[in-house]
């Protein structure tokens, strides 16, 4: 009998359907991986199971008991513990205290007002034993915020284990870890096998296939496939939907433009040197170097959590770098505020679209209109609407009334309206239907040909090799590889290592 049963789980956020009628079974003591592209609804599903969100429809059963309406903290006491995608600890507390707090929550009432915790020796003993289990015995008295990123992830895991769970949910436990750290965590998870059921959300396919007993693939809020690693590996649908290209050896069907032209040369429009950035104590970028030549179409590739979004955020000034330089058109911009960077002609189509919900579509487009590149034939409202005719009918609707795809078009249109010299797109085709995606790429190509420099983050690698001139692959906050499209196309090993299965 399955430990965890998810039946027909549906969740809406406003008008957006994040999860639709999902079924999931996790059996006792198995490692069950949950994979899928960004925005597929993995974290939503995990939050619904752990009780941080309430479902719109459907049920969650644990050990046969319906826990759909049981609050989060009681689910933990019933035996569901979890880690978070973004490290989520008690930052001021030491390793030992972090663990002791988890032990305390499990071992009885929080409503004891008199007896000092310091006299409850077994709390600390148990905490220390968990610390040994996750390999942190040398850091017992270090405050969590002072740990390295990898150690924080280990502690995160330890906190979940300290809850003594029957099912532990690990949301991207190796995100942002070094290779050695990843190995350590993989070993740790493997040691859990047979004792605790593990529901693992993970992008690193190495990790997934090495560890899992079974895999469930989630795409666009639906369960696409579920089964043993072999079954999933062989499922062509999974490849198409998730990996964005056909199986090894098969050719993609012909899809319109296929360009090959000489790489533009000349001075780089954007030059990033030894860029370092961190969120609080955890460093994300460890010295990124990349260049985008004037008129180039360059991609930034890499799996999730490798620092792609942080890199572009640092470029546009939303994150202040810890070190390194960003030079745009001969000028240093790494200390400029975002508006200063933007006014030089850098436009961002951000991940998650970030349309202004309280502005109409027209206003979203017009509010920031400018001719920052001094183009003779600048983008105007009409041109953008010609590019995305679907927006025309929606001009007077508020930004938050659009569908996801329409918001995506709006976000691109909004950036174009500033007539930038450099357009940065962060997952600009996320959540779009294939046809629409293709349309956007064609548009991008055309824009690029007309002289616009583009830096692109996307996951459809094969298609990108056809579109773009040059690629950078980020791996754990560093550029692990760079080269022209031909080189990338020629080396499937690269893809396997850095990008997918």
């Amino acid at each position: 009998m399955s430990l965890l049963q998810v039946r027909g789980l549906t969740r809406r956020f406003g008008g957006v359907l994040a999860l639709w009628r999902c079924d999931l079974d996790v059996f006792p003591a198995e490692v069950h991986a949950l994979i899928g592209p960004n925005g597929a609804g993995k974290t939503t599903l995990v939050n619904l199971v752990s009780g941080l969100l309430a479902p719109t429809e459907g049920r969650v059963l644990f050990q046969g008991r319906d826990i759909t309406h049981v609050p989060a903290h009681q689910r933990t006491l019933l035996g569901i513990a979890r880690t978070f995608q973004i490290t989520n600890l008690f930052p001021q507390d030491t390793v030992l205290d972090n663990l002791a707090r988890a032990v305390q929550a499990r071992t009885g009432s929080s409503f004891r007002f008199w007896r000092p915790v310091s006299s409850e020796g077994q709390l600390l003993e148990e905490a220390a034993s968990v610390a040994r289990r996750v390999g942190l015995e040398g850091r017992l008295h270090t405050p969590a915020h002072a740990l390295s990123h990898g150690e924080q992830r280990q502690l995160e895991l330890g906190v979940a284990l300290a809850c003594n769970p029957r099912l532990v949910i690990l949301d991207e436990p190796t995100a942002g870890m070094s290779r050695e750290e990843t190995h350590r965590v993989v070993d740790l998870i493997r040691s859990l096998r047979g004792q605790v059921a593990v529901l693992l959300v993970e992008h690193d396919m190495d990790v997934v296939f090495r560890l899992s007993d079974r895999i469930t693939v989630l795409v666009e809020g639906r369960v696409l496939a579920s089964g043993s690693p072999e079954e999933v590996r062989k499922n062509p649908e999974v490849h198409r939907a998730y990996l964005g290209h056909a199986l090894d050896g098969q050719k993609t069907p012909e899809r319109g433009v296929r360009v090959s032209r000489p790489r533009p040369s000349g001075p780089p429009l954007l030059q990033v040197e030894d860029l370092q950035a961190s969120y609080g104590a955890s460093q994300v970028l460890f010295g990124v170097n990349l260049q985008v030549p004037e008129g180039g179409l360059v991609t930034l590739l890499g799996r999730n959590g490798m620092g792609k979004t942080t890199t572009v955020h640092t470029i546009v000034g939303l994150v202040t770098p810890k070190g390194g330089r960003v030079v745009f058109d001969g000028r240093r911009i790494d200390r400029k505020p975002p508006e200063g960077v933007a006014s030089l002609g850098v436009a961002l189509v951000p991940e998650g679209r970030q349309i202004f919900p309280n502005l109409t579509v027209r206003e979203n487009l017009l509010a920031f209109a400018a001719n920052r590149s001094g183009a003779d034939d600048p983008w105007t409202l009409d041109r953008v609407l010609d590019l995305f005719p679907r927006l025309r009918a929606r001009l007077n609707q508020m930004g938050n009334q659009l569908s996801g795809g329409e918001q995506q078009m709006l976000a691109i249109g909004r950036a174009l309206m500033t007539n930038p010299r450099l357009l940065i797109l962060d997952e600009a085709t996320e959540g779009l239907a294939p046809l629409l995606r293709e349309e956007i790429w064609k548009a991008l190509r055309k824009l690029n040909e007309s002289g616009l420099t583009v830096l692109l983050i996307d996951k459809y690698v094969e298609r990108l090799t056809e579109l773009a001139d040059y690629h950078f692959i980020l791996e754990r906050g560093r550029v692990a590889w760079e080269g022209p499209s031909e080189a990338l196309r020629a080396d499937p090993e690269l893809w396997r290592r850095y990008l997918s299965v």
């Binding site: 933990t76 513990a81 978070f84 707090r101 305390q104 929080s110 007002f113 906190v159």
Partner: protein
């Protein structure tokens, strides 16, 4: 320069003095508060005795607020409500002819606790700025509610004769009563913040989502802390009513709530001695500026602005080593 956030202590500070000089200082301070009344009597300083009693009541209220504000991370902008209700209970019971101490004091605490329970139960469903505003809204409701009850004085306030203990409750006796109550309350709070409950409360403050995810009943923990804080604030109100022998709606007003918050910040939010240091420093500051200038509030404001911008760890933070 920008104002840093009000930083919380790295860990629940082990506030019992550890060095010999500090222990000697603490012992001296304890001795000073115990022998203060005879000294004040000998020197004929009735005003300073009365000021000390008032300060003790404020110490209690500020320490109670520090529990929710500092240890619980709940920015309550309506703690004057519990303070005022505690005080009004004394006055109203006296007016209705009930003056036995063993009835009045527990009733005061109970009324404040029940109010905190009802208000907290609703307010704790909101977060952030909305929490601040909704606690304020409830405080205003209670304020205007009390103001409209004409038989209990309305805007004019109400006399609150001291309760009967079976002995004469003069100013000196009241001082010792206040000292005792403050001591017992601080002891209770000390145990509480170091017991499981205090640890859980701070866990919720530090990371609510994480706390829930390891199994803490966040809402209940916050509500219980809110009620305890409300009850102790009510006790402070009852004490203040005994001190002034008069209660007025100003005790329930929002500037009063702001005043308490100020004391806690001044003392060092989230440090155990914040309430004590803040209330004493505030009283000293006010007396000092009051003696020096008619426009004393201007300088109080300036001092507080300086504290907020320059010393966000408050007075208690001065003793902590710089990071």
């Amino acid at each position: 320069m920008r104002a840093p956030n009000l930083t919380l202590p790295q860990r629940a500070p082990t506030a019992l003095p550890r060095t010999w000089s500090a222990r000697a200082g603490a012992a001296l301070a304890a001795l000073a508060v115990v022998v203060f009344p005879p000294v004040a009597g000998a020197l004929d300083w009735p005003y300073y005795l009365s000021l000390a009693t008032k300060t003790l009541a404020l110490v209690l209220a500020a320490s109670a607020l520090n529990l929710v504000l500092g240890y619980g991370g709940m920015v309550s902008f309506g703690h004057a409500t519990y303070y005022g209700l505690g005080a009004y209970t004394v006055a109203i019971l006296a007016r209705e002819g009930v003056r036995q101490a063993w009835v009045v004091w527990p009733t005061s605490v109970l009324v404040a606790a029940l109010a905190a329970l009802a208000i907290g139960a609703v307010c704790l469903r909101t977060r952030g700025l909305y929490f601040i505003m909704i606690t304020l809204a409830f405080a205003q409701m209670v304020y205007y509610g009390v103001v409209s009850f004409k038989q209990y004085g309305g805007q004019d306030g109400l006399r609150a004769p001291r309760t009967e203990f079976g002995f004469h409750l003069g100013d000196v006796e009241l001082y010792y009563l206040a000292l005792g109550l403050v001591w017992v309350s601080l002891w209770f709070l000390w145990r509480l913040v170091h017991a499981r409950f205090g640890v859980a409360l701070q866990a919720v403050r530090d990371n609510e989502v994480r706390a829930a995810a390891v199994g803490y009943p966040v809402y209940r923990i916050q509500l219980v802390a809110f009620v305890i804080s409300g009850a102790l604030t009510g006790l402070a109100g009852a004490l203040m009513a005994h001190h002034t022998q008069y209660v007025s709606p100003a005790m329930l007003s929002w500037p009063q709530s702001g005043h308490f918050m100020f004391m806690v910040i001044l003392g060092g939010v989230g440090r155990f001695w914040a309430g004590v240091l803040g209330a004493v420093a505030m009283t000293v500051l006010e007396e000092l500026f009051h003696a020096a200038t008619v426009f004393w509030q201007f300088y109080v404001g300036l001092a507080l602005l300086a504290v907020v911008l320059l010393a966000p760890r408050g007075l208690a933070g001065l003793w902590e080593r710089r990071r």
